[in-house]
Symmetry: C2
Subunit: 408 residues, 2 copies
């Protein structure tokens, strides 16, 4: 059961002018499941993305990065059920074939298509099944097809993740709609598994790229479920420019801040949705680290806590075994940390001070907070002005069950 | 159920001349459990140790490091059930009281005692219970009491870990006996939870200290269960010098290599015993990383694999979902890794080559190896001559159960 994640309603997902989505059932992993998605837009749209840093990155990631750099992208194509990662030279050839087949149906060059795959690693991509199903996906292209699209990118997700937001940029009404997927093999240091956001706002491509990198850092790069960095992580934003506005060309444009705030809201919600639907998750944990000497050391502390199986199982058990939090802070890698100055809070409860338990701390207070489904851990390092926030979930029996059974 | 870890027999644990052990039931966590241990030896013994690098290190670790540096140690005292970590200034005072009470009973100065605690973090040490039980522990001091001692340091361990080895050093017969404990919050980068080894060999203290640091790196620092670095990790070696031999004073002494080999054997076995009895462990995994540019990068790859919950759950499920191994290698942090040169083996099965699955690999071969209780993952990086080995276990439902229930 996802943690406080409303099931999206089809009617709440607003079409983005100039951005159409079409799904199909390719039967890649099992029959009768939406597992193929094509997204189509004018080649004049601005497209920006960030990708996994995993050295064993998937073939489609390599192809997408290359094609994106060349520009004039007109379509995205996504399959689930097979990651096309750890597949060597044949995997690269299959990723190219996926582009070529999509391009042929849409009247594009193969280099104008970005391919994405997600699923099992180290198995050959069944490219024939994808090629056979692509005409159906292209036939289904429609701007009001976000609900099916959100389904078509799911793997172990228990529900689709999607949201829309409308706002104004310099007085012009714009729409932003996005979808994301991922529930395991989720760790920071790049994007998530898959996140796609489209907007009709007009934003110059270089500006959009720098904005997407920045926003990824505060959204998809701030989440972790199991510390495993996927081979396929990708986060793509397409700005079709169909809204009634002149393009935003510079960060100095007053409209940039407005657009940035709207896009950040959607990206953070979609990233958090992945954690809320994390494999086996029963709790949504926000770890806010403050007063660090650098953002990097704040992130280190946040991830040490977020990746500790002992901390995660304590959250699962609603057990205020909070010494485990101190241990994680202590081994996070800040070698000159003065632990006597560290303050630890669980929501409003002051847990630790002066290297030990806070005198006013009562087990009942810790217990009360631990029983909630949403918990904020706040760590004050007292070393500077930097801060960072990490979002994670607990570690439950279901995480083990899901990952022990994934392929079988 | 520990993985291929024979239950030690009392008669197999050989006394070490000049090293006596006494246990008691202090009722720290629950009544009727051996939870206090005193170890006594002449102050002329050589004592060496390595300790956790966790910044929230326990009060007894701070006191032990200080006292060890001052020299002329005559006793070790260990309690389980409470870690005396995250306890601030009162915790320091309690660690000192533990030394003083032990010293008073043994006719030593408080500074000649090394204190150790293991158990729950962030709770005050019940020092009165320890003081009350110390006379019983001292009364039980005997050289043939290793079996009880191994029990007295257990926490979530399912069985005691102990072993003895006899050998010759320059023709002189020596005995080495050791005990260890720890089953969760086990991660490298220092010692294990607790490991104590005694020998009657005669070795000068400075040489023993450098040897212990070196050996820790290949034994207690090469194991990981959950990636959580404890606040209390300590590994201590005491050489009483009662064997019929002149002291080894230099690494150039031909006897040094003989002694080193014997001590390493015991340390590795005791360290592996911790992994074999890892919380919820059903498999013992050796990760051998070869042909790295440095030992450090080999360790990075080893730990990335060993800490991946996805890899660990696949081992638990005996599922040859081996793409997860490639993903972990890919995110281990070697930013210039050429994945097309990486070779991956599961025991004798060649799994991956040239960035993808080995042409001869068959699922049935992977399945066969994954069903074993002992598995070796071998990664060849093809970048240099360095190597490193990491020992770990799988991640099972029982790990979650044990850590969700630890305090309750």
């Amino acid at each position: 059961m996802p943690v406080n994640l409303p099931y999206p309603k089809s009617e709440d997902l607003l079409p983005v002018a100039g951005f159409a989505l079409g799904h199909a059932e390719a039967g890649i992993k099992k029959p009768g499941r939406r597992d193929l998605l094509v997204m189509r837009f004018d080649t004049g749209a601005s497209v920006a993305g960030v990708f996994t840093t995993n050295r064993f990155c998937a073939a489609p990631v390599t192809v997408s990065k290359r094609n994106l750099a060349a520009g004039r992208i007109g379509a995205l194509v996504v399959n689930t059920g097979n990651a096309n990662a750890g597949t060597g030279a044949p995997g690269m050839a299959n990723a190219e074939r996926m582009c070529a087949a999509t391009a042929a149906l849409l009247g594009l060059d193969a280099a104008q298509v970005l391919p994405f795959s997600t699923g099992v690693i180290l198995e050959p991509l069944p490219i024939e099944k994808i090629e056979a199903a692509l005409p159906a996906a292209v036939g289904a292209l429609a701007e009001d097809n976000w609900f099916n699209a959100a389904h078509a990118i799911m793997t172990t997700d228990t529900q689709p993740k999607a949201m829309s937001l409308q706002g104004t940029v310099g007085g012009a009404a714009i729409t932003i709609t996005g979808i994301s997927k991922g529930a395991g093999m989720i760790k920071p240091n790049m994007a998530t598994m898959l996140g796609y956001i489209a907007t009709d706002a007009a934003v110059a491509q270089p500006l959009l790229q720098s904005l997407v990198s920045e926003i990824a850092d505060a959204s998809f790069n701030a989440i972790t479920i199991d510390g495993d960095t996927s081979t396929n992580d990708s986060f793509i934003v397409v700005a079709t420019g169909k809204a009634a506005m002149a393009p935003i060309e510079s960060a100095d444009d007053a409209r940039y801040a407005e657009f940035r705030a709207l896009l950040l809201t959607v990206a953070v919600k979609l990233a958090q949705a992945i954690v809320r639907d994390g494999e086996g998750a029963t709790k949504f944990i926000t770890i806010a680290v403050e007063q660090g000497a650098s953002r990097e050391e704040c992130r280190k502390v946040g991830y040490a806590i977020a990746h500790s199986p002992l901390v995660k199982t304590a959250f699962f058990a609603s057990d205020p075994n909070l010494g485990r939090l101190l241990a994680a802070i202590g081994y996070a890698g800040i070698t000159d940390l003065d632990v006597s100055k560290v303050e630890l809070y669980l929501d409003d409860v002051h847990v630790a001070t002066e290297g030990g338990r806070h005198p006013a701390y009562q087990e009942a207070d810790g217990q009360r907070v631990m029983q909630q489904s949403e918990i904020t851990v706040r760590v004050v390092l007292a070393r500077g002005d930097a801060a960072a926030t990490v979002y994670t979930c607990d570690l439950s029996h279901d995480y083990v069950s899901i990952n022990a059974d994934y392929r079988s």
